[in-house]
Amino acid sequence: MAKELLKGNIAMAEAAIRAGLEGYFGYPITPQTELLEWMSERMPALGRAFLQAESEVAAINMLYGAACTGARVMTSSSSPGISLMMEGLSYIAGTEVPVVIIDVVRGGPGLGNIAPSQGDYNQIVHGGGHGDYHPIVLAPASVQEAIDLVVLAFDLAEKYRTIVFVMADGNIGQMMEPAELPPMRPIKSEYPHWAVRGAMGRERRILSSIYIDPKDEEVTNYRLMQVWNQIQANEVRYREYFLEDADTVVIGFGTAGRIALSAVRAARAEGIKVGLLRPITLSPFPAPQIENLIQRVKGFLVVEMNAGQMLDDVLKVVKGRVPVEFYGRMGGMVPFPDEILAEIQRMSREDIPLDGDPRQRWMKRLAPVIHWQN
């Protein structure tokens, strides 16, 4: 198929449709609304289920019900809407039904603004609903990657009976790029052994997140952890740029990662030996890859569009063995390549301390940039 100039939101919607999406439930919110709008046009035309829910709370619970039928289903939203889904998410995790959720992240906290952000990292990767569970989180950095990851998301969700998030930011949702859509897959014809579709000629089935005896809940938690171990072992995805001889490695995902790529190229042009590790799965986190790099690099620069949420995961892996620096813009601000280039240049010049808190050092450097007055 030829490349088309596609807007991220629409590309993700169409990719899901072509991956065999059978039901979509969502609620409008900038900057992901075009995704829902596309669904409203395409899904009914294909005879598939589309519903604009009355709220994100309703949407996630419709999704939950739809997922219980074993069908390929999805919702999408943006930060405040995702927050409203936390209870439902925890139920879905506890019931072990597969769903795909796209979060086109915007600036927060609160109503904040609609500018691109990565401030939902923690709520999706580490927190969110109550109880112990781990969704898979995929972070595209281009429209093409967004398409590919949406398709992958469904396969992973079903393989592990888990929640898969595609965490894009406003930029990915709003940007147009040439990209190729996958061919249309047929709707599935067989449904899993656990699917609730009416007890026609078989024993009834129950899908529930209740394990009223803590012993049973503990076993369930353990099972979730086991699955998570498998996911960690098998599903880490990332991309490397210029890592062969790099002595400094930038780590950034999504839009921050691709902005970093511009900076890395510029730095390379100046002869600085810098590379880029762009995590594609934020969860499972590419910890082994970072571990490997520790042996041979002088330091890391973590770049995010938040106050250093992934930074903590990097620090956990690095364990103080090599210096880590951080550069983030918050609340909907997007760093320019020049800012990251300046950081790379600084790291190539200065000795970065092993101890101390990279976040505190960053806050000092950021203060003049944002004209901070105490």
Partner: protein, 258 residues
């Protein structure tokens, strides 16, 4: 020709109930509601294509008692979950079973919108004027002056609001095909309730939109009465506030004779 006497079964436990003993308190009319739904499922032969959605409330374990596929919703969200199922499987019979806390308090948004959308699902709404499962707090349907553990001096309508009449409220919506209120406090009313349950399923089968049967029910444990006193209390206190009646009956249903 001669006449002999032979034993005939007048009543037996419906097939659509499982063998599990229910966890409800003795005399709790949740059990009657379950029984009636199961009986209707038997009579209509829809057990194998029914999917139930259990609420959070005393009937949280409803899925253990019906011999059909079931899912368990988050508190108040059963109509949304049922919507998700029904949209994917339009030819299945999808029903929710919800208490007054579940449906009328936390789940208000979902139930109004399900009704407004004319979602082709059937809702069985157990109104016992209290939160049973969490031990007796005020529900949106708690009567004025009624004492509960969260309205210890009785429900004061000035500060705690007025009881909500859900059947009347939802019957207003264009998407509602069948919305009635029945009671479970005596045999006559129970028979009427069963017919209403049947009609709710018929509404769904015929694609006539949203159907709901509000069932006035007891909670002897949290009302602090015996099971028998509870039936009386229901009759004397709840029915005047929550009149039995048909609030919306789609024209196409009117000709059905049961």
């Amino acid at each position: 020709m001669d006449t002999t006497l032979s034993a005939q079964i007048v009543y037996q436990r419906p097939q659509s109930l499982t063998e599990a003993t229910m966890h409800y308190c003795p005399g709790c009319t949740h059990g009657i509601a379950h029984r009636l739904i199961a009986e209707v499922m038997d009579e209509m032969g829809i057990r194998e294509r029914s999917i139930g959605v259990a609420p959070v409330g005393c009937s949280v374990f409803a899925y253990n008692y019906f011999d059909c596929d079931f899912v368990e919703a988050a508190h108040g969200r059963a109509p949304a979950m049922a919507t998700g199922i029904k949209r994917l499987l339009p030819d299945r019979i999808v029903f929710t079973y919800q208490g007054d806390g579940d449906l009328a308090s936390i789940g208000m948004g979902e139930i109004v919108h399900a009704a407004g959308r004319g979602e082709n699902i059937s809702v069985f709404f157990i109104n016992n004027a209290i939160y049973g499962m969490t031990s007796g707090q005020m529900a949106p349907t708690t009567l004025p002056g009624q004492k509960t553990t969260s309205s210890p001096r009785g429900r004061d309508v000035e500060t705690m609001g007025y009881p909500l009449r859900m059947a009347e409220l939802l019957a207003n919506l264009d998407g509602a095909g069948y919305v009635v209120r029945r009671s479970l406090h005596d045999p006559k009313n129970i028979r009427m309730a069963k017919k209403a349950i049947r009609l709710a399923f018929e509404t769904q089968l015929r694609g006539l939109g949203f159907s709901m049967v509000e069932l006035l029910s007891t909670c002897s444990t949290n009302w602090g009465l015996s099971p028998l006193e509870s039936l009386k209390w229901l009759e004397e206190h709840m029915i005047p506030y929550y009149p039995i009646g048909d609030f919306k009956v789609a024209d196409a249903l009117k000709e059905i004779k049961l």
